[in-house]
């Protein structure tokens, strides 16, 4: 494994120019002040209730039974700095990628030109549980499927970014991007005076604009709602936060009903039409009449209303086919096919274990690779070869052999590092980046995104469910 890219220091251990002012500030700020500020941040996050629930954790095992399973995501008080040149490159690459992914979704649910042209084999598409035949031939406003995309990006070197995965179903984390910024401005106003940091606070406004712009045609003043599974969901804080910031109703399935092909919400003044649903519920649970019959989170008849074009659902049903890990290796091909351009952002080389050659190679090099479940998410069901024990490797080998097409593998990436305030002081820790890409009439991105940081030394897993934290991400304006 090569040495990871240090975002603050050059190989000669010189501070990179865009980190100069931050380095100066770090050098002159006493450790006690940092500790005090971190404690203050924790307290404020608790008071605001920026907490998340960890799946599979009972009340008893939580750190404090009286708070149930509500936990804080660790927040690192040292910001990550990105130059505007780097950001421009990233933003162009992200725009191109999300355009291609939306074009792919429109194609795969209509003419399937890309399959007929032989650019992607049909099996991983049509035999994929994420492919929704219900969506075939459905026209969605503006041909946009993934209105909100969270694209996970890692960097390996100077200007060298890789897309690790695309999240096109119900990507989360944007509230942390916004709250982290608010927290930093409160804790360290002096730092903002010294840097021209591109603002991100207009994200909710942009999101509302995008949502209203994709309302069914003919609706003058569309009413949008945010559909949440409810207060026990791990991302509930974010749902409530975004609904509040946009000034739209935060609804649960029970608050909506379908009558004569239209969707209504139950209000104190009677039924009220709903035109756009920003849903934070997976496809499977959206409509018990069409998908999982045991779902109490969804709205019976929603699919019918949707197919008739009487309501817009964001993201569309069936977007999972475009972010499935078995199709990830073909995204560069999608970009070439739909945009007629070479991809600006690289994919991580990926072995698809459905292919016998790839499978043989991976089994031979298991201890060097990262193996992921095709349909997994959130860092669960994942093998990190270099960190795994002999027994873990053997067990995983069995699982692969039992179902090779359930897995893909990638080289262990040397994720870049950023200075992070940990117990031992300021030390480099691995990070990734999730920018949020919004698609309506055009594609828009607020500068930056959510930086996730693996707080344990040497760890490459940044997921919040696995001990990861977050930091504020600064794109410098000049």
């Amino acid at each position: 494994m090569t040495l990871p890219f240090d975002e603050m220091h050059s190989p000669a251990n010189r501070v990179r120019p865009h980190y100069a002012r931050l380095a100066e500030w770090l050098a002159t700020t006493p450790a006690e002040r940092m500790v005090a500020k971190r404690a203050e941040a924790d307290l404020l996050f608790r008071r605001v209730g920026i907490t998340f629930a960890v799946y599979g954790e009972s009340d008893a095992s939580a750190s404090d039974g009286q708070f149930g399973t509500e936990r804080l995501i660790p927040f690192d008080i040292i910001p990550r700095v990105i130059t505007c040149e780097e950001w421009r490159l990233l933003a162009r690459g992200l725009t191109q990628r999300v355009r291609a992914l939306n074009a792919f979704l429109a194609d795969v649910y209509h003419g399937q030109e890309i399959l007929r042209a032989g650019r992607i084999p049909p099996e991983p598409v049509l035999w994929n549980p994420q492919y929704r035949p219900e969506m075939h031939g459905v026209n969605v406003p503006g041909g946009i499927y993934a209105h909100i995309a969270g694209i996970d990006v890692v960097r390996a070197g100077e200007g060298e970014f890789y897309v690790l995965e695309d999240n096109l179903r119900v990507p989360s984390g944007v509230s942390y991007m916004l709250e982290d910024r608010k927290m930093m401005m409160r804790l360290f106003p002096e730092l903002f005076a010294r840097h021209a940091v591109a603002p991100v606070e207009h994200y909710p406004d942009m999101l509302l604009d995008i949502l209203r712009s994709v309302a069914p045609s003919g609706v003058n003043d569309p009413s949008a709602v945010l559909l949440t599974p409810g207060a026990s969901n791990s991302a509930y804080f974010e749902h409530a936060f975004l609904a509040q910031q946009m000034g739209v109703e935060l609804v649960e399935g029970q608050d909506l009903f379908v009558r004569d092909g239209f969707v209504y919400m139950r209000t104190t003044l009677g039924p009220q039409r709903v035109d756009v649903i920003y849903r934070r519920i997976d496809d499977d649970f959206l409509d018990p009449l069409a998908f999982r019959a045991d779902s109490t989170l969804g709205v019976p008849g929603l699919l019918t209303a949707y197919r008739e074009g009487n309501v817009t659902i964001a993201n569309a049903m069936g977007t999972g086919i475009a972010d499935d890990k078995s199709l990830y290796p073909y995204v560069p091909e999608m970009i070439r096919f739909y945009c007629g351009e070479e991809p600006l952002l690289a994919n991580v080389p990926t072995w698809v274990l459905r292919n016998p050659d790839d499978c043989a190679y991976v089994l031979e090099h298991l201890s060097e690779l990262v193996v992921k479940e095709v349909h997994g998410a959130g860092g669960y069901g994942m093998l990190i070869g270099p960190a795994a024990s002999r027994a873990e490797l053997a067990a995983f080998r069995e699982r692969i052999l039992a179902n090779p097409s359930g897995y893909v593998a990638q080289p262990t990436l040397a994720l870049s590092t950023c200075p992070t305030f940990v117990d031992s002081g300021i030390a480099p820790r691995h990070v990734d980046l999730r920018p949020f890409v919004l698609s309506g009439r055009d594609v828009r991105i607020v500068p930056g995104g959510l930086t996730r940081v693996a707080l344990r030394e040497g760890s490459l897993v940044v997921n919040s469910s696995q001990g990861g934290g977050t930091k504020d991400t600064w794109v410098l304006e000049a």
Partner: protein, 315 residues
């Protein structure tokens, strides 16, 4: 506004008001324990408190004889008890959390901080002065929530349902407090002399934050008839039945929908009776009878409001 949202706001407000009422009730009881009086008298006072919150049967079943420590457990500290302050604050916070997007940041953070601080507060309630401090704290938190509501919330349905919750709970509480205490006094039949009665009445007034108001309003000694008048009919006393109904009808008018006419009519009628009622006729009918009738009608209003506005099945 979503029916479910209105429902959560309504219950959030009710539970906060209930927690405050409990805190005042218990505070007065704990302080009264410092007065020289027989165990029997003290126990009667604790039993009356249990009766006010409808927890007397539950208490007897669980603990038997009156013991202040157990009373405090049941209606203050036991999180599993449906009557306790802790439970009320939890329910209030859970309702707030379910609709935190519909609350202003000020209200939500007040609710959430209350909940987070509660555990630390409970830990320090070993003796009487700490108990008083705890009850004082609960009252202050309730005032903060009310203040944040009045000062930061948009005057739309959400606000009005919050207020309706507060005043329904308050009307219910005042009526019960008065009724239970008058019955205890009647049972004693003045056998303990006017001084003992004075303490009983001032205790009642204090537990409704009404002792100073009584002095200001009457500038005279405390008599049972005036106590009843103040708490039932006085238009400016913030906890009187009249005042509560005034608030309920005003807020109800602002949220009226196509099926709420009958509820509005009933609230308006009850309000008119209090507005134009005289204490002589209340006494002639019998205070207990008047209060029992009032409690029944307040409950009817509560369930009608639920059906008209808050339960989504209604549509």
């Amino acid at each position: 506004m979503l029916s479910r949202t209105a429902d959560h706001l309504y219950w959030m407000a009710r539970y906060v008001e209930r927690a405050e009422n409990l805190a005042r009730l218990l505070d007065v009881n704990v302080s009264a324990a410092l007065l020289p009086r027989s165990t029997e008298e003290a126990n009667q006072s604790w039993a009356a408190s249990l009766a006010v919150v409808g927890a007397l049967d539950a208490y007897t079943e669980r603990y038997g004889a009156i013991d202040p420590r157990h009373v405090l457990e049941l209606i203050a500290f036991d999180p599993a008890s449906p009557f306790s302050i802790v439970r009320c604050l939890r329910e209030a916070r859970e309702n707030a959390r379910a609709v935190r997007g519909a609350l202003t940041t000020e209200i939500w953070e007040t609710m959430n901080t209350t909940w987070l601080d509660l555990h630390r507060r409970i830990a320090g309630t070993g003796n009487v002065d700490q108990l008083n401090e705890f009850f004082e704290w609960v009252r202050q938190r309730s005032h903060l929530v009310s203040g944040a509501t009045i000062n930061t919330m948009l005057r739309t349905e959400g606000f009005h349902f919050t207020r309706i919750g507060t005043f329904l709970e308050r009307a219910d509480n005042t009526a019960r407090m008065l009724d239970v205490n008058l019955r205890v006094l009647a049972a004693e039949g003045g056998a303990r002399g006017p001084e003992a009665d004075y303490y009983r009445y001032s205790q009642l007034l204090r537990s409704l934050s009404a002792l100073q108001i009584y002095r200001q309003a009457y500038r005279d000694r405390i008599t049972p008839d005036r106590v009843a008048e103040l708490l039932i009919l006085h238009p400016d006393m913030p906890r009187s039945l009249h005042r509560c109904l005034e608030e309920i009808t005003a807020n109800l008018r602002r949220v009226a929908n196509s099926q709420s006419a009958e509820t509005e009519r009933r609230a308006g009628q009850l309000h008119a009776e209090l507005q134009f009622g005289r204490i002589d006729s209340v006494l002639a009918r019998g205070v207990h009878k008047v209060l029992a009738d009032f409690l029944e009608r307040i409950q009817d209003l509560g369930s009608r409001i639920s059906t008209d506005f808050l339960l989504s099945e209604a549509w």
